[in-house]
């Protein structure tokens, strides 16, 4: 059984969707939890079409049922977890009726879903940005973990929690230490012993205090405390919430450097633009969504005036008085293997070439890699009594709820053929038929009828932060009261509309919910 939450898998992760569909043919049951009637609903045996942002109410409601009907594994919970009583207390209020009121679902469906998930022999939860892009994204993830821990559906093949990651190497970028609080190998910067390993090898003293998240950097840019911003291969002007605000912040900088393969909307604002090599022109590794490290290989020679990301940074570093010299990506990888050996020690290029992919941790050459990551939730005897803690959380509604003036909820996401800010997917091979070539605002037939809208008619969509003109697409994929847009096309910059409210822990913005109004043109 698979609980698929906030993941439009067919469009955002098509090949993972294919594997799920194939598993359905061999008996897998899928419960889709999504405010839209996404394509995966066709392959599910139940669709919980909940209100945007009401996931915690649903999860707490399910746990309420599971605890009340004693469908959880009491022995497993006793051995592996802490704070069960706190969880029990928290979810006591979330009767199926109460959860139904918040989520807009039937209480019977919540009860049925709870029983199906809890009693399945193997059950997995997969989620995407529909879970994380909320002001309560971290709490959403905590509650998913609570559900998996309660039922013991974790730590075994066919069980567990699987965040489906959106970019080819977003996992690797964080693992490599491109996070304000983490060193390569995903160890905390604050760990003195681990940090010293890097200080010794790099020959410098490192700042032990965590730096700023992207969100915090924006706040400090507003105050004028950040003078220089160096952006590599990202288009935040188009991709981040509240675009008019983002533009002001970028204008505030004394120095903005953009390193990219195209002159993106963000690069157009930069003081210096550096041309980088792209996929197909470089050697190296990516880490995918399930911790597989795989080799990326060069197919063509880049333009002679274009340099690779690491090459540019090494030259800059040397100019600034800290010499960095590498002959190739393998030399860099070997430094990573040496310093973060607990994770990558056994993953030579030679092995990756031969074995195709290895899951980290893979500490030595004889290690086969780690397919199931979390197999134990308590410390072994003699190391204290600490177990995996439940972290009970409450439902909190989206920060900006619809009202009389802005009566619709706008939720945003991706479409099948385009990718992010469309800088690359505007270049398809000739002769490929593209179904959606421009942005639309997807609206339910009942709402369209009420507004007197025809399919394809131009409308103005406005929030408190700005407005865009876009054709309406009348479709029952969305519920009444909900509209959907992607952020792929520069002529319809959807993030003009979205709200700059963030999760206080992760700093992730609430891309999935803001209030808008829709007006006919003329």
């Amino acid at each position: 059984m698979l609980l698929l939450m906030g993941s439009n898998t067919t469009e955002a992760h098509p090949i993972i969707a294919n594997r799920m569909k194939k598993a359905v043919r061999s008996g897998l049951k899928i419960i889709v939890v999504d405010p839209r009637k996404i394509d995966m609903v066709k392959f599910s045996h139940r669709h919980l079409q909940l209100e945007v942002g009401s996931d915690i109410a649903l999860l707490n409601g399910m746990m309420h049922v599971i605890i009340q009907e004693r469908l959880y594994d009491e022995e497993w919970v006793r051995k592996n977890t802490d704070d069960f009583e706190k969880l029990k207390e928290k979810v006591a209020a979330y009767t199926p009726e109460f959860a139904a009121k918040i989520t807009g679902l039937n209480p019977e469906d919540i009860v049925a879903a709870a029983r199906e998930y809890a009693t399945a022999e193997n059950a997995m939860i997969a989620y995407t940005l529909g879970i994380t892009e909320h002001h309560c994204g971290v709490n959403n993830v905590f509650d998913i973990a609570n559900l998996a821990l309660l039922t013991g559906h974790i730590g075994r093949k066919g069980n567990g929690i699987m965040p489906l990651r959106g970019q080819n190497n977003v996992q690797g970028a964080g693992d490599m230490g491109c996070l304000p609080n983490q060193l390569p190998g995903a160890f905390p910067l604050a760990d003195d012993k681990y940090r010293k390993r890097f200080e010794d090898h790099w020959g410098v003293k490192l700042n032990p205090n965590a730096g700023d998240t992207q969100t915090r950097t924006f706040e400090r840019m507003e105050k004028g405390e950040v003078k220089a911003l160096y952006i590599i291969g990202e288009n935040p002007l188009m991709a981040d919430v509240h675009m008019n605000h983002t533009r002001k912040l970028l204008e505030n900088l004394d120095l903005m450097i953009v390193q990219d393969i195209f002159l993106t909307e963000t690069a157009e604002m930069a003081d210096v633009v550096l041309p980088a090599k792209s996929w197909g022109e470089v050697e190296g590794t990516y880490t995918n969504t399930d911790r597989r490290v795989q080799r990326v290989r060069k197919a063509v020679d880049a333009h002679p005036h274009v340099k690779e990301d690491w090459e540019i940074l090494c030259e800059l570093s040397t100019l600034m008085g800290y010499e960095m010299n590498y002959e190739n990506s393998e030399q860099i990888w070997d430094e990573i293997r040496l310093l973060a050996h607990e994770m990558y020690g056994g993953m030579t290029y030679e092995r990756l070439d031969k074995e195709y992919s290895l899951h980290y941790p893979c500490p030595d050459l004889n290690h086969p890699g780690t397919f199931v990551l979390h197999e134990r939730f308590y410390r072994p005897e003699g190391a204290g009594e600490k177990r995996a803690s439940f972290i009970p959380v409450d439902y909190t509604p989206p920060v900006e709820e619809p009202d009389e003036e802005y009566p619709f909820v706008l939720t945003t996401g991706r479409r099948y053929e385009a990718y992010n800010t469309h800088t690359q997917t505007r270049y398809y091979q000739e002769g490929i038929k593209i179904k959606q070539t421009h942005e639309t605002v997807d609206i339910h037939p009942d709402d369209a009828a009420r507004l007197g809208l025809e399919d394809g008619e131009m409308v103005t969509v406005s929030s408190r932060r700005g407005s865009v003109r876009v054709p309406a697409k009348v479709t029952d994929k969305v519920k009444p009261g909900l509209v959907f847009m992607s952020f792929h096309w520069r002529d319809v910059p959807t993030n003009v509309l979205t709200i700059n409210e963030y999760d206080p822990i992760s700093g992730t913005a609430e891309f999935k919910a803001c209030a808008v109004k829709i007006e006919k043109m003329n």
């Binding site: 992760h13 098509p14 090949i15 294919n18 489906l164 080819n168 190497n169 977003v170 964080g174 490599m176 609080n181 790099w202 490192l206 965590a210 730096g211 700023d212 992207q214 405390e225 950040v226 220089a228 952006i231 590599i232 291969g233 990202e234 120095l255 393969i261 690069a267 930069a270 550096l274 041309p275 792209s278 996929w279 197909g280 190296g284 590794t285 990516y286 995918n288 795989q294 080799r295 990326v296 197919a299 340099k307 990301d309 690491w310 540019i312 940074l313 030259e315 800059l316 100019l319 800290y322 960095m324 590498y326 860099i332 990888w333 992919s357 053929e417 398809y428 091979q429 992730t508 891309f511």
Partner: protein, 136 residues
């Protein structure tokens, strides 16, 4: 068109990590197929992975460093661009401290480039103000 070489690699779009085979002729990718040996996709591809690769050879690719002069982004040499950046970043670091500088790293580039990116920020700039789209 007969390819002159075939290169095995991994897709650069989403996080699934599909193995691909690129057919190359005259320094150009002319076809992309799913790799049957790939553990993740076993030969399958989606429309982006198989057909949205022409950006690599797009004429709009950046081919020279650009530096804003009198308000206009102007072609300059690598030497001029990198010296300008090195001078300015050193100045900011000296005058306002390392935390006046921030870096947005790239979730699309390799592990190797990401490792060097954070090494540059930590060892050269002296700041941990490094993040990326890990949060979105």
């Amino acid at each position: 068109m007969e390819p002159t070489k075939q290169v095995k690699t991994v897709c650069g779009y989403c996080g699934t990590g599909c193995g691909l085979i690129l057919d190359v002729k005259d320094n150009e990718i002319i076809r992309v197929r799913g790799d049957k040996d790939a553990p993740v996709n076993k030969g399958q591809t989606c429309i982006k992975g198989a057909f949205a690769y022409k950006y690599v050879h797009a004429k709009e690719r950046l081919k020279h460093p650009l530096l804003r002069k009198n308000g206009v982004l102007t072609k300059v040499s690598w030497e001029e661009a990198l010296n300008f950046i090195a001078d300015r970043l050193s100045f900011f670091k000296e005058k306002w401290g390392p935390d006046s500088i921030a870096m947005f790293a790239c979730a699309r580039t390799t592990n190797e480039s990401n490792y060097i990116t954070q090494k540059f920020m930590r060892a050269v700039i002296g700041s941990n103000n490094i993040d990326g789209c890990n949060r979105t």
